[in-house]
Structure formats: structure tokens, C-alpha cells
Symmetry: C2
Subunit: 647 residues, 2 copies
Amino acid sequence: MKFEIKDRDASGRICKYKTNHGTVTTPTILPVINPNKMIISPKEMKNLFGTEIVISNSYIIYKDKKLKNKALEKGVHNLIDFNGSIMTDSGTFQSYVYGDIKIDPFEIVEFQRDIGSDIGTILDVFSLPDQKKSEVEQIVKETVNRAKKSVELKGNMALACTVQGSIFPEIREKCAKQLSKLDSDFFPIGGVVPLMENQRYADLVRCIIYSKKGLDPSKPVHLFGAGHPLIFPLAVALGCDFFDSSAYAKYANDERFLFPWGTEKLDNLNELPCTCPICSKYSISELSKLDKKNKTIEIAKHNLYITYNELKKIRNAISNGSLWDLVERRANSNPYLLEALNEIKKRENKEYLEKNEPSCRKKALFYTGSHTIHRPEIYRIHNRLIERYEEPFKTTIVFPEGRKPYYAYYSEKIKKIFKKNCKVNILIDSHIGPVPLELDEMYPFAQSVFPEKTDKETEDYITTKFDEYAKNKNLISWKGAETLKDLESNNRESIDFDILRLKAISDIQFGKGAGSVLLNGKIRIVKSKKTRKIRNVYCNNKHILSMRAEDGLFTLKIDGANMLHHHFKYPKLRVVVDDDAVEFVKDGKSVFSKFVIDCDSDLRPFDECLIVDKKDELIAVGRCLLNRIEMLSFNYGMAVKTREHIK
Amino acid sequence: MKFEIKDRDASGRICKYKTNHGTVTTPTILPVINPNKMIISPKEMKNLFGTEIVISNSYIIYKDKKLKNKALEKGVHNLIDFNGSIMTDSGTFQSYVYGDIKIDPFEIVEFQRDIGSDIGTILDVFSLPDQKKSEVEQIVKETVNRAKKSVELKGNMALACTVQGSIFPEIREKCAKQLSKLDSDFFPIGGVVPLMENQRYADLVRCIIYSKKGLDPSKPVHLFGAGHPLIFPLAVALGCDFFDSSAYAKYANDERFLFPWGTEKLDNLNELPCTCPICSKYSISELSKLDKKNKTIEIAKHNLYITYNELKKIRNAISNGSLWDLVERRANSNPYLLEALNEIKKRENKEYLEKNEPSCRKKALFYTGSHTIHRPEIYRIHNRLIERYEEPFKTTIVFPEGRKPYYAYYSEKIKKIFKKNCKVNILIDSHIGPVPLELDEMYPFAQSVFPEKTDKETEDYITTKFDEYAKNKNLISWKGAETLKDLESNNRESIDFDILRLKAISDIQFGKGAGSVLLNGKIRIVKSKKTRKIRNVYCNNKHILSMRAEDGLFTLKIDGANMLHHHFKYPKLRVVVDDDAVEFVKDGKSVFSKFVIDCDSDLRPFDECLIVDKKDELIAVGRCLLNRIEMLSFNYGMAVKTREHIK
């Protein structure tokens, strides 16, 4: 089953997943189809919502003699009259709802295979949120054992092996690791419905993160039983690819309308606050007057319009780099969801999420409240400032935050400093933390929008970060021209701020020391005539760097890559490709995951990288789409987009 | 022109406004119709979006000889082919955009009248955000002078007199007051486009609040030039009824899609994240391929679908009491809008907004972030606790916040306290502030959803509020059973918590001392068999109070009203009606604003009130829909819904 990443943001991803019955674009939802009562047929769903995949329950089919025989004879696609992809569930959820069910765990896998399910599911054991650790450990052991035997029976069917482990993070992670070692194709995160029913979203976040930590990142992840769009943005941002649910129908049956921000009962609405074809077709009184059956169908359609539309919004947010904005915006509509975001403040979770976080974005970062400052990308830049950035001089003048870009805003004062050749650093005490002036045009410093006054929590956090940065540094506050008196310098050597800028960005982007390496020679800078911003950088007449207008970061040219390759030891910045791929890459072709042998673990999605062969010969320079563990796990799709190769 | 309030929330309201061409439901938008280039005709708008009112520009019509003659001959409704309500603007905005325009300020009013505009606008003078105070004062003086003369020319047309005053709150308020004294029918808030263009939403909030403070509350208020739905929820919550804009068309011309959370350019979208009929009809590539004209029309339609839908959401939020939730949710999508909410933290603004704030709601209050705690209703309850609530005993035990309802959550501990007849108060240190246990079922204490951990700012604010409350009180923290040791009591009189509860709620709801008055006799309490909550209260066999299940507040019965009427001096809790209305009210009819002579200034929308005649004879009890200043200003609509009258 081909599964490949096409685009990404946060720990979320847009993927293509190929089944025996077509290709599915994720993140998406699998509407639950009950073969006994379809209120909207899968065929109609395909027409109305572009549904590519649905889920049905093999246990229900198996238990009904008529359905069973028809499914065995003509296949499940015929049974529910759908030629797209079909996943089947196994009865585990029924065991949760109705208690013990009588079915052999392997027979149900074989049955799913025999009726032609595209993705079948093992009969895992449901772990409850209030179970004891020892019980949960037993459940996971049994689940893994069943998975082990089940993979041998799967045949041509993709097999979904469900991660259990209740709310114990370490058991989730262990279960995920064990399942990932098997020949499984698809990973539902199970046992989470009771958490969602009780709005225990913080527990849910932990379950997802720890399951994801243990899982093979090259396989799809399915949040089992999640059907309310409220949870989608956060779940996708944590790495879930699939959702499923009968919520659209269940809620419709109760005359409840799903919305991205929650649920509204028909009775409580005076108008239909929605533009979907159903809500455009009826007035509220017309809809209320429909008979029960038709009302349910129409509300179910509304629910699916909203559900699929939220997925579109999520995919758009991934493409334009605003998924965290969407997550925070949605979380603001539910206090429990907002609370769940507190999980992301935890260091261990930030550390995990940071590895998947792209290194640049098309859109500016928007402050939405006290959670914004805890985004993994901000965590990263604070760390990188301390790890990678070196202040050029001994003394630092601190300016309060002015308007952006800071250099232009403070230009008069800066001119005074430069005129006297004062050897001082300039640091901005900004809402996002300390910003060395050299980095003022770089993402996310320039490309972030904070209000003039944030909230107390953000202010406190930033103060801590500022203090961490300031430790052992000689900082003085700008107090007008007299600040300079003490710093008067006889130094005749003038300061070339452009060079400082190039060095600082290089160090942050490629690692400490990168700036000195790249700028070791005669430097020529070409600026944009219009914006006066740096565009291209030449060292000894070789074009080594270009600066991107949108994020103020560099694209690395092959000559620059060569300099970094000489200086930095293996595996720093490298992606190592198999011999089979070398000629292709030299031909300008991109690097596919299956040809990656190794990779620098510090590389992040969208980072610039050096493509080398097994002997560490530089063959090209490109842009990563995956991080190390992904490159080593994925069998399909691009790992590095090659930009320039050695001639 | 009839204008009446039908429903309300925050300082926002749903009104019916009757013009010469029909009735308009507000809040709504007036799409700008340029008679020279209609990309969507008003007639089509009516079909597609239910458009009831549009705005056109009389200056443009006046300047074009052909249009002018046609308008004068056949009327503006014929000119733009629309039989709904039409407002006309006067050219003021053109003077802002293009500099001085040559037109006589009174001729243009007469012209609007003569072409049959339903609402014409004076030619006010546009004040800019960066103008000096003295200049702005001159502008306002000239604007008011023009308004004075214009009202004499208006004839059968409603006349809109625009509030100017740049960003000077006191000038805005003064201008508004002066205009309110004239015979004007409609109040645009003008000069705000430059603020919106630069996302200076905090300035905008001040302009709206101070204009509203000075304006006659019984007239519609129009935020001139506001067309992006992003600003609607906040502007409505501050009391704006109308918006207008060409944004739908201008943005469409740039291939930009309006959304409630911002704007997206067609180029940046991979999918159309919207369910409207336009976005359901086209794929993104199909839409991209349309010719310029058709593409603009289709995007303009999308923009209007979204705009009208946001207004539906706002009206629904008003009806179900969740307008602040919506405001905060929307603000979270734009840092500048979020910052504008800081204005609401200011005491003078809270004080103003609190007067319009309903005293109860259908929906629970949802925490959305650091702004929630500053809602006017929370400001009110903190004040009322200090002003109206009296602790029954000398010592108070403080419990940390447990689950709601607190009484049930702490029942074991409370039983211990009661068993020993300890005379102590119990206070919960909750996320919303101090909550005396007697009030634990009352709105907003029970009906609010806060996460387990809020944000630092909220925590600090609540600590301050707790300290204010605790001042001069003897508070001890609950430290298990030993807390009780020091409080052991030989008092044989047992505590009747239900009575304490009734007293506390009465005091908070009706004023200090109300509880003692109402409970002065033999009390019988009837509880719900199912929930065991108090339902009805009898004193000396008279039914005096009923408790509402949804908000834990009382509805006042006529016998209870009588007791309060005897005790509290005029005008406390009273609404005084004119002699003409007395018989109608005695007949059970509701009180209409025009018959209200006076009213207690402490009454708030949805408060229980005593309806009295001029001699202060109690004639009925009811529920206010308006506050004092509104009752005295409105000529139309209901002021008090009568519930029970003296027999």
C-alpha cells in the first residue's frame, strides 16, 4: 500500500494513500456505513462530498447470515455498492459497547480478507481509561499477540493494527513500537472514544503523542472513533491522518448540527447559520417540518458537508503553513480543548513535535493567545539562539520592541552607533523573545504578528527566555545617546552589518560556525533594487547563497554547499543516498526515500541539505521534505527535492 | 421609522427597523450598489441572500446627469431596480478619498429626499485619525451644524446623521450627544475606515463605545464602511446594528475570498474551504479558469454568502446568549482584534457595557482565553458579591475549586460541618472568583465552563478579586477534619442550608436585604423530585418565588413582588407606567416603552421588576427587556414582559 507525504505543517501531513480500490488524499474521514441501515449511501456520498473511502463493520456483516453470504460471494464493495476504498472494523468497539462478543480474533481477520476489504482491522482488546496499569499491560500483550498472528493471515489486504494502552503514555508507546515491528500497514489509535465522550482532550493528546512516538512514521495513523470536526485540527497537527465516525448520522438522529466549533440543536437555532447546500435549500421552519426520516437525512448531509469542509480547511492550512493558527483558533471554542493545548507546553512533547515541525512557512505566525508562544517552532528558535548564535561583540545594547522591521525602525539610533564604530551588539526585547538585530528579517522574527500587549503568561515565559539568553552576557539598556558615551570607540575599522547579518543567519540555519566558513573570502552582496534587501551572496566570485524574500532564510547554492561540506564533519547536514540513486541525483532528479541510507538527525522538514553518496562525496544540494526517521522509514515518495547538483 | 429591540446579548441587539420600503432585521449589512457598475444586481441579491436593504451613493448619482435625471424622475428604487429599502450616502467618503468635492451639503440632502431614498445621509465632514484635537473639534462643530439644518429638509425620509470625532473619545461622545438632540433617525459612526484599513481595532472599539455612550439608544447605529465580517461580532457586541461595504466586490476584484477569520487569495488556496453554493459548484481549477468578469461575480457572491452567514451566526449567538463567546473566538484569529478586546478590560468601558448586559443567559459561559474573565457579566457578579451579599456567619472555610456543582462535590465534608452545627460560611476559590456555596447553582457560577488550568492573567485577576472579597473577613483554608476542631459548636440550632441559599440568591438578584424580606415567615420549599433542586418557594402559604432550572435564578411571583414592594423604597426594582397603560397591564398585557415614565437605574435586561403606576401602586410583576435609559428612549417595542398582575 503506497503511502507518501505530499505536504506538511506542524506534525500534520497531506498524504496520498493507495489502496486496492484507488488513491485517497489524507487527512480525511471515513464515514461509517452500517449495511443494515444506510441513511446516505456511499455512492451518494461520493457524488456529494467526493468521498474516497468509507468504513464498515465486518462483525455486523459476519453476524448477519444474509449479509455474510452476500459479502463472501460478491465482496464487500458489492454489498455496500461502493467502488472506492473500504476499510472494515472488527468488532472491538462492539465489545466495548456491548461487553464480550463471541468471535474468533483470527477468523474475523480472514473474513475481512475474504470479503475483499481494502483495509481490515485486527480484533484488538479495548483498554479503558480507568483500568489498572497491570490490566492494561495484559490487554496490550494480548493485542500485540493477536496482531502477530493476524499479519500472517492478511493476504492482499492491508492490515490495521490498533494501538491500545489506555491513558498510560509509556504503554501506548511500547504497544506502538511492537506493532510497528510487525508487517502491519495501518495504525488506528484505539480506546479513545471514552476520552472524547468525556471531553478528556488532554488525555487524548497524550495518547496520540505517545502512540505516534512509537509508531513507524511511514504508515497512516487513524484516530478511531473521532468524528466530531472540533477535534480534527489538533489531531491532524499531532499526526493523525484518518478519522472515522458515525457522528454525522447519530447527531442527525438527535437533530443536532455539527459545526467546527461545536454542536447546535435544531431547536436552539432561529436561523441556519451555514451556507451548505442543505442550509441554503431550507429555511429553519421548512427543515423542522420534514418528517423524521428526511430530516435526519438532510441534517446528516449537512453534518458531512461541514465535516468534509473542515478537512479542506485543514489541508489548506497545511499547504499554506497555518495549521497551528487553525488549531489554536478552534481550541478557543472549547475550554477542554484549550486545556489540551497545555500538553504542548510540556518540554518532552515540544521536543517530539519540534522534530516534525517545518523550518519555514509561507504565512506569518499569528498570535492567538497564551498558547502561541509554546509552538514547537518558537521552542526551536529559542534553543537555536542559545546553541547556534554567537554574539559578535562583548557588549549588547537592548532595545525595546519597536515596529518591524526593527532595523528600519531603529535606523537613526543604529546609524549613531555605527558612526562611532561602537563594537556592540543590538538586541531587541520582543514579544517572541530576544531577537539579535542581525536576525530581524528572518522567520519567524519578521514574519510573526503579535499585538502590542500580549497576555501575562506569554510575557512571563518570554522574560524567562530572555533571561536564559542573557546569562553571562553583558547587556545594557538603550537610554538615548548617553548610552553610547561609555562605548565610544577609537576603532577605525567600520562595521559591515550586512556581513554580520549573513553570518548570524547562516549560523542559525546551518549550525554554529557555518557563517565563518561561508564568508571566508571576498564577499559580494547583491541587493534587491526595490526593497534593498539582500538577494544573492558571492564568495570569491562564487554564488554561495540566495536569500528568500518570504522568510529571510537562505537557499544554499552548490558552491556554498561545497564549503559547508568541507567544513562540517559527517553526518552534519547530509542526506546519504544509495549508489543506485547517485546517477539520478547527478542528473538533477530528486531523492526518493527508499534510496536514503542515512541522514543528519538535526535536519528538519524544508531544511537545506547536502546530498552525498556513501563515500560522503557531495553530489547535490536540495531541500528536505522529511526528517531523518521519516527518510529511513518511508518506502514511497520524495525525501529531498534536489535543487542543484555537482557538474 | 419604527425601530424596536426583539432580542439582545452583550450590548448587541436584534431589532426590526421599518422603512418606507419594508422591514429590515438587524444586525445586517447594506451591500454597496454602484449604479454605474453593478456586478450583482440588488434584485439578484434579494433572491440569493435575502437582502432587505442596500446602500447607494447619492453623490455619484447626482454627478452623473443621466443617472440624476432618471433618479429624480422615477426614483432611486427604479434606478437600481430594487423594491426593498435603500439608504444613500452623501459623498463624505468621496471627499476623504478624492479630497474636496463640490456639492452643497443641503442640496445633497434635498436630492436624496427627492429621489425617494429611505434613509438619506447628511454631508458630514470626515475626521482623520491623525488630525489635531482643535481641527477635529471644528469638524464636529461643522458636522453638527449641517445636521441641524439638514433635519429640517428631510421630509418623509429618515435622516442619518454621522458621528465624527476622530479618535478622541470625548469628542465622539459630545458629537453623538448633540446629534441625538436633533430630529435625526439613524446614526452612522463615520471616519473609521482609516482605522480599519490599518487594523487599528483598539481605536475603533473606543470610537464605537464613546459614540454609543452619547447616542440615543433607540436609534439604529451603523458602522460606516465596515464590510469585512471579521469585525462584525465585536462591533455588534458593542451595539452596532448596520454595516455596509463594497468589500464583497472590491475583494472579489482582487480574487480574494472573505472568511469570518480573514481573507484568502485564490492563488493561495488548493481547495475551496467553503460549502457555499459557489464553492460547492466549482473546483478551484474551474473557478480559476473563468474569465475575469465571471470570476469576479462568482467570488463576490461567495463573499456575500459568507458575509450574510456570519450575520446569521451573530443573530443566533444573540438569541442563545453566546455572543461574547463568538466575539472572543473571532478575535483569536487576528492579533489586532484580540488586542482590541483589551479595551474591554478598562473599568470605564466595563461599566458602560455592564448596563446593557443581560442578567441571565440560556447558554453556559465558555472560557476562551485571557479575555473571558473581563466580560461585563463577570465584572457585575464580582461587584454584586461585594455590594449585595452578606456572609451569614463570622468565619469562612475556603475550599479549592472542585467539580461542579460544588455542593454535591463537597457533600461529605459539608455534612461533617453541618453535623456539628458549625456556624461557618463555605467559600469556593474558583476560576471565576470567590463563590459562596449558597450561590453554587446560580448563573454564571454553575453555568460556566473553565478548564482546570486557565492562564496566568486570569489567575492573577481572580486572585485580586478574591482578595477584594476577603478583605475584613475571617477566612481559613480547609485542611481536613481538623479544621473543624477549632470550630466545634455547642449550638443546638441546626443550619438550614436551603434557607441560606434562598436568602443569598435573593440578595444578589434583587438587592441587599431582599432575602430577609422574602423569607420573613413560615417557609415551605418544593423541590424537583428528579434533581432535588429547589423549584418553588412559599412564605406563609403564599407562592413567592420559583427557581429556574437553567440559570438557578428566581422568577418573582406577585406575592413575592408585593413583599419587595413594601420593603424597598421607590424607585428600587420599579418600572413606572403611565396611567394610559395601567388598565392594559392589569389585563395582563406587556408594557410598551412609550408608556414607561421612569425606571430603577439598577435594572438590567432580563431582570425581574415591579410594575407600578405613578402613585407607586404595584400593578404587576414582569421581566425587563430594556434597561432604564432604553425604556425612556424607545418609542416602539416592549419594555417589560408582564408575567403576573395584581388581581
